[in-house]
């Protein structure tokens, strides 16, 4: 069974700038996921909103929240409400589109983020399921079209089959891998691991020391 709320701090938390945990803190978390994947500064940001997000993004502060996440801010960062101005000052182009069609990932709180700069572009489709908790249901990066079940944390590791065996071994000492997928783009491979619990910061650092390209996505609490 897939459990979205794994920690007591998913429920008593996060500490955040108002006004909405799903449309503000959760939007920030989707932005942060995109930030973790892109890893650098974008020149262009396009946000597509669907359903409830499309109808209420302005009232809920979703625009600044999602941009603040893309800039790497935490949801309780005092700069969150000023994120749009900060991004403008940094020369980033931003477009917000309230889509009228239904969410392609089938959730009323859906945001699809496109980030690009001169080197690369990514697409991240996330939904905010309540209380600041999010799911990531599609990621397009480096030619891969990654489709996780949704719940975080998720670990993505580009690499060979040998790397995959090593990662599997390392993860087995840390937590249960609840789902695992293999993706191919031309001659490159990428492995997705859905984890049963959030890793401690030091545990992620240890993995990243050997696998610098890894992407670790977790919630905000």
């Amino acid at each position: 069974m897939t459990v979205n709320y794994k920690s007591v701090f998913d429920i008593i938390g996060p500490v955040m700038i108002g006004p909405s945990s799903s449309h503000t803190a959760g939007a920030c978390a989707i932005g942060r996921a995109a930030h973790s994947i892109f890893k650098t500064k974008p020149t262009d940001i396009v946000i597509h909103y669907y359903d409830s997000f499309a109808k209420t993004h302005k009232g809920h502060g979703t625009d600044y929240a999602i941009i603040s996440g893309i800039l790497g801010f935490a949801p309780d960062d005092a700069r969150v409400p000023y994120a749009i101005k900060l991004a403008q000052d940094a020369g980033i182009n931003m477009t917000f589109i309230a889509e009228v069609k239904a969410s392609p990932i089938h959730h009323p709180n859906t945001a699809i983020i496109e980030l690009k700069n001169q080197q690369k572009s990514i697409v991240v489709a996330g939904c905010s399921i309540g209380g600041g908790t999010i799911e990531i249901r599609e990621i397009k990066m480096d030619g891969f079209d990654i489709k996780p079940r949704g719940p975080l944390p998720i670990l993505l590791v580009p690499g060979s089959e040998a790397d995959h065996h090593m990662i599997t071994k390392l993860l087995s000492k840390l937590t249960e891998v609840t789902d695992q997928k293999h993706y191919q783009a031309e001659d490159h491979n990428l492995y997705e691991y859905d984890l049963d619990r959030q890793l401690q910061h030091t545990e992620v650092q240890k993995l990243a020391a050997d696998y610098g390209q890894l992407v670790y996505l977790q919630g905000v609490s």
Binding site: S7, I12, V15, M16, I17, G18, P19, S21, T56, G131
Partner: protein, 297 residues
């Protein structure tokens, strides 16, 4: 991981441990964090709650950018000082705390989502009133939050806590149920009574829709937190008196989930139905966002 209220209550009875203790043990096993780190982290959340309650009722209070909400925690405080409240000071102190927190949230201040930001006034509203009423110390207040979290996780994993998927019942309803069950525990009730309080609290708010005016977390959200605290205290007192809900907590949670799924889109945080569709709300929306709300960058 405790997935059902019945399971949590049974574990508390078998292990002869309070629910907050079971919650801390589960958290340690899930996150691999130390007991001390987990305890301290909850203490920091408690401090955020205290600060919001104080800020919302201090001086002239706080006011949102739109002017739709703010300053009413201060009105409540002044009214309470006269000593003639109809509902009694415990209830009205809880209402003041809830409104203060929710006004801070609407004014883009810092809050702790419990379980959501829209419902962030309810749990602290009850807790800080019980602090005065039952003379709770800091450790007991932290215990209260772990107890509430244990019940809240079960609600969230079985029914969800987003207004966009479940309506306001999933937000203020869940918050009120968490507060009711934790209030029973901190007042010395049994785990079974906590479960009854949860069942009563949710049952009383089933069907509550999410209809924010102009899509803002202001009207009616701030005042929905006032009914959240009143309902929590009533449900807790009823359970402590020995009243039972007859329909068990786990079945009530499933009912809430089903009701949420059957709510039309217009009543699930789209700002299109309910109070948001009233002529006054439409005028408010036009005043704030103009005639074409999606055209503004």
């Amino acid at each position: 991981m405790y997935m059902h209220v019945s399971e949590l209550v049974a574990a508390a009875q078998v292990k002869q441990q309070p629910i907050y203790e079971l919650m801390i043990t589960q958290e340690m096993s899930v996150t691999h964090a130390s007991r001390d780190d987990i305890w301290q982290a909850m203490g920091r959340n408690l401090d955020v709650m205290a600060a919001a309650i104080e800020k919302g009722a201090a001086g002239e209070g706080v006011h949102s950018k739109t002017g739709l909400t703010g300053g009413e925690a201060v009105l409540l405080k002044k009214y309470r000082e006269k000593g003639h409240t109809l509902a009694g000071d415990t209830v009205m102190e809880a209402v003041q705390n809830a409104v203060a927190t929710s006004e801070v949230n609407a004014a883009m201040g810092v809050v702790c989502a419990t379980p959501t930001a829209g419902s962030a006034g309810t749990l602290p509203g009850v807790l800080f009133t019980l602090k005065d009423r039952l003379d709770l110390n800091r450790d007991q207040m932290i215990q209260f939050l772990f107890t509430a979290g244990a019940f809240g996780m079960i609600i969230a994993n079985n029914a969800g806590i987003a207004g966009a998927t479940g309506g306001c019942q999933a937000e203020v309803g869940s918050a009120s149920a968490m507060a009711a069950s934790a209030a029973v525990a901190i007042a010395g009730g049994t785990p079974e009574q906590s479960s009854e309080a949860l069942a009563i609290a949710i049952s009383n708010l089933l069907g509550l829709v999410c209809d924010p005016v102009a899509g803002l977390v202001e009207l009616p959200c701030v005042k929905r937190n006032a009914i959240g605290v009143g309902n929590a205290l009533i449900a807790a007192d009823m359970a402590l008196a020995g009243c039972t809900n007859k329909i068990p907590a786990d079945e009530v949670i499933v009912a809430m989930d089903k009701i949420g799924k059957n709510l039309p889109d217009s009543l699930r945080e789209t700002g299109l139905g309910g109070l948001a569709a009233t002529p006054t709300a439409v005028r408010i929306k036009e005043r704030i966002f103009g005639h074409h709300p999606t055209a503004q960058a």
